[in-house]
Every structure is written in C-alpha cells, then in structure tokens.
C-alpha cells in the first residue's frame, strides 16, 4: 500500500527537523570535546609535558669505587677486583629453570647460590637482574657470552668487588666488607641512598667498618629513560660517582705477616708499636681467618667451623682479649712505689718462697725463695714476695693510678671493631661490682698481675712503649687518608722521674741479658739489637694447699684450657727504644719459655726488616731457630708496595 504524499512530506519534515536537532547535538558535543582538547593540549600543555618527562626520566645510582687500604709502605691490603658475574632477567628468560639448566652445562654453578638466586628471582620484579653466578673466570664468562643466543635473559657483567690480597694476615686489622642487611641499616641508621644499590657492600668489621664513611665514597647518578615497567631504555645523562678515600695504615705488612706466622699454631695475640710515635706496626691475633670468605658469602659449614674452634679465630685477642698480666704488671708496681718514695732502690727484701698474711699464705713462683733481692733483681728474677711487700707499702690506689698512667685499664680509641677496656681495679670498683670491701690480699694479688687485674695485649704494648720512652705515647693505626698524613706530635712526658725509669729499664735489660734473668734464654747476641723486657705467667686456676703439698701439677699435665697464660712485654733496641712488643699466648705455659722467644723473634724482625740471621741467636738455639723459620708460613717474597698510596690520585676523585 502506497502512502499518501502528505504522509511522506509529514514524515520527512519531522525526521528532517529532528535530524537537524540531532546534528546540533552532535556539533555541540564535538565542540565540548574540542574545547577539552584545547584545554589539555594547549593551555595545560606545559604542565603535562613536565609530567611526561617525570614519567620518562628516572635517576639511577652509580656505585662509588671503595677506597683502597694500604700498609705503611704502600702495600695493598684491600683492593677492588674485577668481578665477572652472570645476571639473569626473568622477563627476558621466559623459562628460568630451563635457562639455568642450560647455563649449568656451560659453567659450574654453585647449587646453594642457585637456590638463593631462584628465590630472589621469584621475589623481585621481572625486569630486575639477579646475580646467579659470581666470581667467574674470564674463560667462563667468555663461554657464556659466546652461547648467549641459547641463554635468553642471561647477561655477563663486570662489577667491582672487594678482595684482600694478604688474606688472613689482616683479618684482625683491616676486617672485611659484607652485604647491606636490614639489620645493618637498623643498627647504623645509615640513610645513604647508595645502600639501595643491589650487591653493594659495606664494611662490617675492623678498619673496613670503622672507616666506612671515608672508604665508601659518594654515589653518582645517571639519568635514564625508562618505560612504564621501570626497564632502562637509554642513558640520558651521567654524574660519575666519587670514589672513597684511600686509607693508609701504620701497619707494616711484612712484619704483620711475620707476627701472624710466628703466632701460628697458638691461640695468641701480639701487638708491635713504634715507641716514639705510637704507630701500631703489627697487630696480630692467632689463629686467624680469611676475610675473603666473608666478602663472597661464607657458607654455613665454614662459619660453624670458625665459630666453634676453641682457639676462637674470630676473636681479636690483641685488642679484645683480656688476660691477667701476671708479672708483666710488676713494672707498674715498682714505678708506683718508687714515685711514692716508699722504697729505696738498694733496699733488699728477703724472700723465703712465701709470706704469711693472716691465715693465708702467698707464694712466690720459686718455692725455695730468692733470698735477699733488691728492686732490680726482684724484677729481673720476678720475685713475687718482694712485690707483695712493695704493694702493701704503696697501696692499690697508687698502683692503679700508675697503671692508668701507663695505659692499662683504659679504652684506647682505634678504628677497630672491639677494643677492650680491661681493668685496673680500685677499692671503689670492688665495692660497686663485687659488693665487698677491698682486702690486703687483693692488693697482693694485683701486685703480681693476678686477681682482678685484666689487660689486653694492646694495653701491654702501650705500657711497654710508655715505660721505654717515659712519654704518654698514644697508639694510632691510620697513617694517612687520601695521602693527607694524620697529625702525630711528640707525646708529652709522663712525668715519671728519669732515675726511676732508668732503674726499671736496667731491670728489664737484666731479664733478657743477665744470667739469672727469667728470659736469659731469649737474649740477643748482637749489642745493637739488645732487647729488654719482662716475662709473665698468669694463672687461670687456683692452686689449692693440698696441691701445693703434693707438688704443683706441671702445665703439660693439665688440660689446655687450665694451663697458665704465657706473657711477655719488651722493647728494642735497648739503648734507643724504637719498638715495643707484647705477646700473650693463651694457656701457653710459662712466659719465659713460650712468650719470650716469640717476642724476641718479633723484635729482631722489626729491627732488621727481614728474617733475622742466625748469628743473632745463642749458638745452642740456632738449629732450632733455623728449623722454625723454615716451618713458619712466612711469605717468601715480602709484599710489594703498589705505589698508589703516595702517587697522584685519579683525576676523577674529589677530595672534599
């Protein structure tokens, strides 16, 4: 049926009219859209351009090169080596397990490390490279690079990592670096952004830890263009990192090596100090460990072995170990008494092998007694009874005051991880800490370095240096930072009368050089290298009356941990003191038999700069010494200075 013309016209009119209205609506909306476009793209273009740039540009940190550590002659103690490693990017690898398996066919992969890497890969965002293999050889790295097409997501990389060329010799001085842990950040409150760099290492022990701020340097930055996932597309700008400062220590690497070698096999600590400047030339603790283990990530078994060793290789006995000083404390008592004027040097005191004090009997180490001895003889023959008498005259307060003056019972500030304060007891101390009053017996015990007295090898070395020079020598271990010398003026005089010091010096000379001296066996045959010192043997157990009557059990018959500590302090050359040494051998037995020979060898090595020739030893000992030096793990070639410490610095470095 055909519609009427009128209907057609009506329909067309209505539709046309409404189509025009609709068209108007279209235009209106288009106008709003265009206006919005104009607003966004023209009026606010600059704001949005800025936001787009902020999106696009990311600041990445560049790790600074850690400062190097040298010995006093420029021998490298801690350096940075090229570390070839392999990283994996999950995003690119697709099938991580398959890629790792393929990688395992090309290089040797540590199973534990792989497991750790797998966990990290799962945890981190897919575009972050995770280290799967570390410290590869150049050959291994090349073979990975060659096989790259079969290993998607695998990248060979070169980074810097810490290494200690002299290894175990410097574990107790230089220490080591390790990864940044949450615990570390919590403990130090360190907010340096450089800590966020993956695989960044910070000093965790000894000089590495205590000199962290100097060694670390400052992170550089680079501006990179990133995509929305944070993946780096290209580099736009770079502000290079500032390397850390180089630190030069006062330690002599050759001497340090000798001392560690000479102590090896014992559980012992020893410090060699320059009498004039206080510079520490060697600071050794045996047994020691390889700090490189900690840099690479120590395994559980290695850690357990070190931690459970009864000789405690991880403890620094030179600074942290505290021992009753034994007879090495007698110089302090003697000087205290001389300065107090309670005794004339020539006055003789009779020794019958013991004294009675109330109902207690105090023994001399020589049960038969020394007869009548004066001050010099009492020191050189280490007569205990003489010092019991002296101590009662002078009193504990004066003894302790002298001990503090000579550097015992004081925490010396060195950039090392553990420095023990030791203990020079006072009456007040005993009341506060033991809850009982000081008794005369305590004074007698203290006079022979037993009882409450505790000292570290470091303190004993400082004491010896102060006695040798008469000056308040302060120890130091840092020689220069970035080539700038640490200021070390001449130490002020202690204010002890020179004639009193001379008396003690003569007594110490006799210890080694008088036929009746306790360390006569450890004498030196050449006048230019003569040494003076004092032996000490400190008990770690009580000897009961019953045992005394039955005969004191010899050290060799006791279990190791109940044997006496062997001590020795000394200096050389006698005429112009230059080197002071302390040696403590834990449970070593007698100071004269065990500690004194070690100290003599160390002092000779320090004076000569090389392994001492046999002519310096008594004829009867030469064979044994020759044998000993052949056996000790001494470096065949002395460490060679690398020259960087004194030469001009890298131009990129900045000294602010």
């Amino acid at each position: 049926m055909k519609r009427s013309q009128k209907d057609i016209e009506d329909s067309a009119r209505v539709v046309g009219r409404r189509a025009i209205v609709m068209g108007g609506l279209f235009l209106g909306t288009a106008g709003v859209l265009a206006a919005r476009m104009r607003y966004l793209q023209v009026e606010r273009a600059d704001d949005f351009r800025l936001l787009a740039e902020e999106n696009r540009i990311n600041i990445r940190l560049l790790p600074p090169e850690r400062g190097l550590i040298f010995d006093r002659n420029g021998v490298l103690l801690a350096g940075n080596e090229q570390n070839y490693r392999i990283t994996l990017v999950r995003e690119d690898a697709d099938d991580v397990d398959a890629v790792l398996e393929e990688l395992g066919r090309i290089v040797n992969l540590d199973l534990v490390a792989i497991e750790r890497a797998r966990e990290e890969i799962a945890r981190r965002p897919p575009f972050v490279p995770v280290t799967v293999a570390d410290r590869l050889s150049w050959e291994e790295l090349s073979s990975v690079a060659v096989n790259a097409p079969a290993l998607p997501g695998v990248n060979p990389e070169v980074g810097l990592s810490r290494f200690y060329p002299l290894g175990a010799d410097f574990a107790h001085v230089v220490g080591y670096v390790g990864p940044v842990s949450d615990y570390y950040i919590e403990q130090t409150g360190d907010t340096d952004p450089v800590l966020q760099i993956p695989d960044f290492q910070v000093g965790r022990y000894n000089v590495e830890a205590r000199m962290e701020s100097a060694l670390r340097g400052r992170a550089g930055t680079k501006q990179v263009e990133v995509n929305a996932a944070g993946r780096e597309m290209r580099e736009l700008d770079r502000d290079p990192a500032t390397a850390g400062s180089d630190v030069q220590l006062t330690i002599d690497a050759g001497l340090q090596n000798y001392v560690e070698a000479r102590l090896s096999g014992e559980s012992a600590g020893s410090v060699v100090i320059d009498c004039e400047s206080g510079e520490i030339l060697a600071l050794a603790s045996a047994p020691t460990f390889d700090p490189n283990l900690f840099v690479r990530g120590i395994s559980q078994t290695q850690w357990t072995t070190l931690n459970e060793d009864r000789y405690r290789p991880l403890a620094n006995k030179a600074t942290q170990g505290l021992y009753p000083p034994g007879s090495t404390y007698k110089m302090i008592v003697a000087l205290a008494a001389l300065e107090a004027g309670v005794i004339e040097p020539s006055e003789e005191i009779g020794c019958t092998g013991h004294i009675e004090l109330g109902d207690r009997r105090f023994h001399c180490w020589r049960r038969t007694g020394h007869g009548r001895v004066d001050l010099v003889e009492a020191i050189s023959q280490s007569c205990d009874v003489y010092f019991y008498d002296l101590a009662q005259r002078v009193g504990i307060e004066a003894i302790t005051a002298m001990a503090l003056r000579l550097g015992c019972g004081i925490r010396h500030d060195l950039p090392l991880s553990g420095i023990a304060e030791g203990l020079a007891p006072t009456m007040q101390w005993k009341r506060e800490n033991r809850g009982s009053d000081w008794v005369v017996g305590d004074t007698l015990n203290a006079s022979i370095g037993q009882g409450f007295v505790l000292t570290s090898p470091l303190q004993l070395a400082i004491m010896t240096a102060r006695i040798a020079t008469g000056r308040a020598v302060e120890p130091g271990i840092v020689r220069s930072i970035d080539g700038v010398r640490e200021r070390r003026g001449t130490a002020p005089a202690l204010g002890i009368a020179p004639e009193n010091l001379a008396l003690v010096h003569r007594a110490m000379w006799q210890v080694n050089n008088d036929r009746r001296g306790t360390a006569f066996e450890s004498r030196v045959m050449e006048d230019a290298y003569l040494i003076a010192g004092k032996t000490g043997t400190s008990q770690v157990r009580n000897i009961t009356t019953a045992e005394r009557e039955a005969g004191v059990i010899a050290n060799e018959d006791l279990p190791w941990e109940r044997r006496d500590h062997a001590l020795y302090v000394g200096y050389a050359p006698f005429e112009a003191p230059r080197y002071a040494v302390s040696v403590v051998v834990e449970h070593g037995g007698g100071g004269a038999a065990v500690a004194a020979p070690i100290a003599r060898d160390i002092l000779l090595r320090a004076q000569l700069g090389t392994i001492p020739p046999l002519e310096l030893y008594p004829v009867s000992q030469r064979r044994d010494i020759e044998e000993l030096h052949r056996r000790l793990p001494i470096l065949a070639e002395p460490p060679v200075p690398s020259g960087r410490a004194t030469g001009p610095r890298d131009t990129e470095r900045d000294r602010t």
């Binding site: 409404r18 025009i20 793209q41 704001d47 787009a52």
Partner: protein, 379 residues
C-alpha cells in the same frame, strides 16, 4: 507497506550502482582508517605487526562488505531487519551461556579468525528493527503509549543482555542509540523529558544501592566511577589509566611530539594503547592539530549521514541512516570523552581507528547500509 515505491526507471541498476555510491563518504572512511593504521604502526614501535596487518585485512574485508551491502536495495534490508535483530539477540544469548570470558566480562564468540562481539552487531540491528518499526507504524500513532512501549521493549532486551555480560558501556550505548531513533521518528518530547528524569533517578539508585546486597553494578564499575570523579585519589591503581592518558594528551601540545616520538606510548605508560586508548597516542604524537583533524573527519562523516537522511524520502532509510550516525557518534564521543577525562573508563573503541575486528566490520556494514540508502534513494 512503504511510504514510497522504488522508482525503477530512474534508479541506477547493476554495476552502474557503484558510480552512484557516495564516494566522498568512502574517502572519509579510508582517511580515518589510514590514520588508524598510522597510529597502530606507531604504537607497535614502527612495525606492521602485530596490529597494522590484521587491521588492514579487516578494513579491506569491511570495504568489500560495505560495497555488497550497498548494492542490495534498501527495502530488502528493511524486510530483513527483524531477522537480523533476532539473530543478534540469539548471539547475545549464546555468549551469555557459552562465550569466552575475558577481562572479567563475557563478551566474545571466537570465530577462529576473529572474535565476534555480538553486542557490537546489536547496535546496528537494533537501529534497523526500530527504523523498520517506525516505517511500518502510522504517523499519528507514534506517540501513543502502547506504541511507545513496543520499541522500549525491543531496546530493553539487548540492553539487559549486554548489561549481564557485564558491559555497562555498550548497554548505555544501545539505550542511547535506540532512544535516539525513537526521538528521530517523532515520538513526543514529553516522553524524553520523562526518560531523562527516570535516568537521573536510575543513576541515583545505582549510587544508593552501593554496598548493599542488591547493588546494581560490579565493584570494579563503581571503582571506575570513583576514579572518574577523582582520578588523583589513586594515581598508581585505578586512576592510573586516566591520569597517564591525560598526561599523554596534554604533553602533545599544539603540534605533537612527532610521529613515533610520543614517550608516553613508546614507554608503555599508556594502557590499552592499541585499542581503547589509541586516541591518546594520536593526540600525543600529532598534538591538537592531529586530534582536531580526526574530530573533523568524524564530523564530516556525520554530516554526510545527516545529509543522506534528510535527502531521502524513504522513512526507513532516513531513520536507519540517522540511527547509524548516532551510534557512530556515540562511539567516538564516548571514547574521546573517556580518554580526556570527561567520562568514566568504559570499554568503547575509537571507531575505525582502534584495533579490533567486531567494531570495524559492524561499522563498515552499517556504512554499507548508509550507502545503500544513498544509492537507492527515491528520485
């Protein structure tokens, strides 16, 4: 019955019909599609794959379909309207029960070479069936309540099914497209005032129902509305899309950052940059000039449609062409408003530019219908 009988003598026939196509419209469509190819090439990082090649194939297929549809006389399409609409309802029911579930919505039928989205198809068939209905209806009955209810029911069925998928954007587009055809057919103004009032009420109900057990929208849709109202409240989460897209648009400036130089799209800060958000890449790389040019091309296409509708004396043809124009308009207006932060993020592609098969083919078929109306217009 028809308002007009086809005048066989003066109308072109056979291959001569091709000459009577509206070639200007064809050129405009090709121009928009080419702009789309260019942008897809750019977002692929200067590569024909993975988007430009299939898009070109689909556009070629679309052109062929358009020509075929254009060759078929318009009355035949009118007679097929009911069938076409019924088919699309069946397809909607099919995805309701068997469709692929993607991105939280059940919208697709996998045809092997492409995924068909029945709701896209429905946009056109709904317009067809409504146009046919009003072609059939007496003019003086148009505004009677019963005869208003019938088209409302026709609109309600596919709208409800789409909403269930759930695809809020397409459902709203169907509602608005259908309503527009009713408006064009001459339904009394009062009804529209009523509907708008009801719409306001519905929106209030949607918001009021939030958080209650009978809430009307999915949580993600509520969140999208929230971030639409204040995108800055969650710049890395839900508001990320809209914030990044505005940054991209704005940083384009007057003339853009240059072809393939847009950092936002290059560095993947833009979401869905080859589909719903492709306009941002265009605006970033070609600036206000580029974005306004595309808008102008769209307006010109609409202008041709309106011209065709007004010039035609065939009521079905006029209503169909205008209905298609409205559907097309809603596509690009909602998409642009969305990426420019004027409308919530609903999944609506930019017509003929966004990568996607269904919308492209359906639109080309729709323009085939426009061409058919043009070719077979009474003279």
């Amino acid at each position: 019955m028809s308002f007009l009988e086809y005048n066989v003598k003066t109308a072109p026939s056979g291959w001569r019909k091709i000459l009577h196509l509206n070639w200007a419209l064809v050129l405009l469509l090709v121009a928009v599609a080419c702009l789309g190819f260019l942008m897809l090439y750019s977002v692929a990082g200067g590569s024909m794959r993975p988007w430009v090649e299939p898009q070109m194939q689909r556009f070629a297929l679309g052109l062929v379909l358009m020509l075929i549809v254009a060759m078929v006389p318009i009355w035949l399409w009118r007679n097929l309207s009911g069938v076409a609409f019924g088919m699309s309802i069946l397809l909607l029911l099919y995805v309701e029960f068997f469709g692929d579930v993607r991105m939280g919505a059940q919208r697709w039928i996998d045809l092997g070479f492409m995924r068909l989205q029945p709701s896209e198809l429905t946009k056109i068939t709904l317009v067809m069936v409504l146009a046919a209905y009003y072609d059939w209806l007496d003019l003086n009955k148009i505004s009677r309540p019963l005869h208003v209810l019938i088209p409302l029911a026709i609109i309600a069925v596919p709208t409800y099914l789409t909403l269930r998928q759930p695809d809020l954007g397409t459902a709203l587009l169907l509602l608005m497209g259908g309503g527009a055809v009713m408006f064009l057919a001459g339904v009394h103004w009062a009804y529209f005032v009523g509907v708008i009032a009801a719409g306001v009420g519905a929106v209030s109900a949607v918001f009021a129902s939030r958080g209650t057990p009978w809430q009307l929208l999915q949580d993600y849709q509520y969140r999208r509305i929230d971030t639409f109202l204040d995108p800055s409240q969650d710049p890395l989460g839900a508001g990320y899309h809209i914030t990044q897209s505005q940054i991209a648009l704005g940083s384009g400036g007057w003339t853009g950052r240059g072809f393939m130089e847009g950092t936002q799209s290059r560095l993947n800060f833009l979401p869905e940059k080859h589909t719903d958000f492709i306009f941002t890449t265009l605006a970033e790389e070609f600036g206000f000039v580029g974005a306004a040019s595309l808008l102008t091309l769209y307006i010109l296409i609409l202008a041709f449609c309106i011209y065709t509708a007004i010039a035609s004396r065939d009521r079905f043809a006029s209503l169909l062409v205008m209905g298609i124009a409205v559907a097309f308009f809603l596509y690009f207006a909602v998409n642009m408003a969305m990426v420019m932060g004027l409308a919530p993020v609903v999944g609506v592609p930019l017509p003929l530019v966004s990568f996607g098969g269904s919308a492209m083919l359906v639109l080309m078929v729709a323009f085939g219908l426009v061409q058919s109306a043009h070719v077979h217009r009474p003279r």
